[in-house]
């Protein structure tokens, strides 16, 4: 056994080494690409990539078809038109009109070139910057001297978005910035310090913001009560537990069959949804879709995560029910959906909107109130010297009380599955539309969720009262009733909702397997912005279809017709959003 003195001496040596190591890491980031000793293999081989997408992610070369090009051109044009509208809206940012429009427009996606500006407004960054002049630099200095998280940050910066053109190279400018932001933040919010996952979130923010803005944006996501990610990353992950419990509750209530299926195969939600909540779906769903979710998240906050988690399982329900084991289910949710979600972004976002309504109606949109343990106890930016143990990177053998609690919960969750009866739940995943009543084994819930969803939708289109329930808008975290009184609602628009839901059913049967297919484009006809004027693109050209013709398009698709139906952009440049009514129905 070592004497106390020997132990202290050894710790001193370790501390010196840790200090030297931290300084060495900082120096390497100072030098950036001028580091002479960068391992060749630290830079992912460039030759395997040939194409960068619009966000900078590199992909193996893929041949673009003529149709892909057409689609890209169409989207570009829509975005140009939308950019104009957003710019106009930004001039009048605090007006009531903007507030109302914002809620609709954010659902269509913020034009990428304005994303930084709009996110900045959502996160109120200008104010943070104004109130905290010099703080970032100060934290960075502290970090260099004291941060116990530098090694972990260095490991993770080296592994973050290596398939992105700006993060690809070791010590590239972006890697330098990411390193500094995380290092500085580890000193600003000392309770959280650095937690794996934060590099991903900050990494995305840095694609849009400069370094200091990213720092404050990250801080907003952690500390602003709308997002409150502090509770996710802090030791013991208390908010993760709350998310998981709430997610399970939603599944039990709205998709008992799926819940049972997942339980039966031992797939606990912690397995597939941890990353959904920790990094807001990054690398679990395609990046373009993820940005759309981020747009909505920035406006509405944490309820979007809950609703999106539900949406992913709901939209893939039939597929999931067909899967026969844990491996398949987990791989699907963890890997496959990232590569190919199977539905175009607009369809998913519309489904997300509907999910947000549905959860709101069931009073399940908000998480239960947070316990005190989730909130910061120490004021930010207040320097506390880390313990010797923390500095030398010593791992604690024992769990803290909070950690033990988390561990027990996770254990209980994973072990309480798999003990149900072995009744075969819908082994073959019945095609949607043919599902009759299913034997109900789940006491509290009367109906198979398919039936319920369909019934709800019928209510929406057939009953005025139910219809007005739909027009509840989310407003900065609180929900206000948005009345449609006085707005003329035509039967055509009613049809569009019904059609939407039916189209969704069709999608479930014909998931898109990568390229453009009748199913996704069909969705465009129903779900994209300009529903009232729809253009049917054929190889010969474009012909316009008006509202009343929608129905036949849907029928055409449901009848298996492979006609390519795409929404026109004509409606989008209209200043007054002639697609508003439909949007209100779907989005409010």
């Amino acid at each position: 056994m070592m004497t106390a003195e020997e132990e202290l001496a050894e710790k001193r040596i370790l501390l010196e080494r840790a200090n030297a190591e931290r300084e060495a890491i900082f120096k390497r980031y100072d030098r950036g690409r001028k580091n002479i000793d960068i391992d060749a293999w630290d830079d992912p081989a460039f030759e395997i990539y040939t194409q960068a997408d619009r966000y900078g992610f590199l992909h193996p070369e893929k041949e673009q078809s003529f149709r892909d090009d057409l689609e890209a051109a169409r989207r570009k044009q829509i975005e140009v038109e939308r950019t104009k509208k957003w710019l106009k809206m930004m001039k009048n940012w605090s007006s009531a009109e903007t507030k109302e429009r914002l809620q609709r427009r954010v659902m269509k996606g913020i034009p990428d070139r304005l994303r930084a500006a709009i996110w900045k407004l959502f996160l109120n960054l200008d104010q943070a910057l104004k109130e905290n002049v010099g703080v970032y630099e100060k934290m960075l200095k502290f970090a260099r001297q004291y941060s116990p998280d530098i090694r972990q940050i260095d490991f993770d910066v080296n592994r973050q978005f290596r398939n992105h053109i700006n993060y690809r190279e070791r010590y590239s400018v972006k890697q330098q910035s990411l390193f500094r932001v995380l290092a500085a933040y580890s000193m600003y919010n000392m309770e959280v310090g650095y937690c794996q996952g934060m590099s991903t979130v900050a990494g995305v923010l840095l694609m849009y913001f400069d370094e200091e803005d990213t720092f404050w944006a990250l801080n907003a996501l952690l500390s602003n009560e709308r997002y409150a990610m502090h509770g996710l990353y802090v030791e013991g992950f208390p908010k993760l537990m709350r998310f998981l419990q709430h997610h399970d509750k939603i599944l039990t209530k709205c998709m008992p069959k799926v819940k049972k299926h997942l339980d039966k195969h031992g797939v606990d939600s912690v397995l597939y949804s941890l990353k959904w909540f920790f990094v807001i779906f990054i690398e679990r769903i395609p990046f373009s879709l993820c940005l759309r979710v981020w747009d909505i998240y920035m406006l509405y906050g944490e309820r979007v995560l809950t609703a999106m988690a539900y949406t992913i399982l709901k939209i893939h329900k039939v597929k999931l029910l067909r899967m026969k084991d844990m491996d398949q289910i987990t791989e699907f949710l963890q890997t496959i959906l990232y590569k190919n979600f199977g539905y175009d972004d607009d369809t998913v976002i519309k489904t997300l909107q509907l999910a947000m309504f549905e959860l709101k109606k069931l009073n399940l949109d908000k998480l239960p109130a947070a316990p005190a343990s989730e909130f910061p106890k120490v004021a930010f930016g207040q320097f506390i010297e880390p313990s010797l143990e923390a500095k030398i990177g010593h791992r604690n053998e024992k769990f803290t009380e909070r950690e033990t609690e988390l561990k027990e919960t996770v254990l209980y969750r994973s072990e309480s599955k798999n003990d149900g009866d072995d009744e075969d739940v819908d082994e073959n995943g019945r095609p949607v539309g043919q599902n009759g009543h299913h034997r109900n084994e789940n006491g509290g819930h009367d109906d198979d969720e398919d039936d319920r969803t369909e019934r709800d939708c019928d209510d929406i289109t057939e009953e005025d009262d139910a219809y007005s329930n739909l027009n509840t808008e989310y407003d900065d975290g609180s929900i206000t009733k948005h009345s449609l009184t006085g707005t003329s609602v035509t039967s055509t628009n009613d049809v569009s909702i019904t059609s939407y839901e039916r189209t969704c059913d069709i999608f479930r049967l014909q998931p898109n397997s990568g390229g453009s297919s009748a199913a996704i484009l069909g969705s465009g006809a129903k779900l994209d912005d300009s529903v009232s004027i729809i253009s049917l693109q054929t190889l010969d050209g474009v012909c316009d279809l008006h509202g009343s013709a929608e129905h036949s398009i849907v029928q055409g698709v449901s009848g298996g017709s492979a006609e390519k139906v795409a929404p026109g952009i004509i409606g989008d440049d209209d200043e007054d959003d002639d697609d508003d009514i439909t949007e209100k129905q779907l989005s409010s």
Binding site: R159, F237, F399, V410
Partner: protein, 219 residues
């Protein structure tokens, strides 16, 4: 027997093995756990690696002693804060690959702590192999082979140095771990047949399988 029939191989994947072993790869952050698993399961190595947030797993089926053994290999986040999540998955694991990085002293110093975690949270009979990864980076080595071996001897576990990048010893580690687990199963059966968690009750791995072949030791 269904599992012996090749036509089953594609369809009913859950029927397609005689035994299932749950294995975990643990160790400090950035020692190469995910790369090691990818090398073994997909025979690929990429420097566009990502850090594991939470817990992932991959499946690989191998043949040992004429039996199909399905390996369910769990890959874990290394940061200390995530131990609470990862240790919950230790239960029921039959084998652990405890990994450090030969170029990172801290990761080696943490081995003892990881062993404590295994002892505290896993089944008594869980088998462990100590692995020093990144042995291709000889220039940056700070932990000698001897130090690794010595520690493994002290702990009473087997030891390998590996490189996921150069594909050194990766397969060997898994094969050895599977063998040790099989030996342990047979041993436990000899002493107390009810102890066996790894196969059909009362059946030895060296016996001809009887009855339903999809014994699942994920107890």
């Amino acid at each position: 027997m269904a599992a012996g029939d090749p036509k089953w191989q594609k369809d009913a994947s859950d029927q397609n093995f005689d035994y299932m072993f749950k294995l975990l790869i643990i160790g400090n952050s950035s020692v190469g756990k995910t790369s090691f698993l990818f090398r073994y399961a997909d025979d690929s190595f990429t420097s566009a690696f990502v850090s594991t947030v939470g817990i992932d797993f991959k499946v690989k089926t191998v043949f040992r002693h004429d039996k199909r053994v399905k390996l369910q290999i769990w890959d874990t986040a290394g940061q200390e804060r995530y131990r609470t999540i990862t240790t919950a998955y230790y239960r029921g694991a039959m084998g652990f690959i405890l990994m450090y990085d030969i170029t990172n002293e801290e990761s080696f110093n943490s081995v003892q702590d990881w062993v404590t975690q295994i002892k505290t949270y896993s089944w008594d009979n869980a088998q462990v192999i100590l692995v020093g990864n990144k042995c291709d980076m000889e220039d940056e080595r700070v932990i000698s082979f001897e130090r690794g071996k010595q520690l493994a001897d002290q702990l009473g576990v087997e030891f390998f140095e590996t490189s996921a990048k150069e594909n050194v010893n990766v397969k060997n580690v898994f094969e050895r771990l599977v063998d040790i687990i099989c030996d342990k199963m047979s041993e436990s059966l000899d002493s107390d047949p009810t102890l066996v968690a790894g196969g059909p009750k009362g059946q030895r791995l060296t016996d001809q399988p009887q009855g339903p072949p999809n014994a699942n030791c994920n107890c």
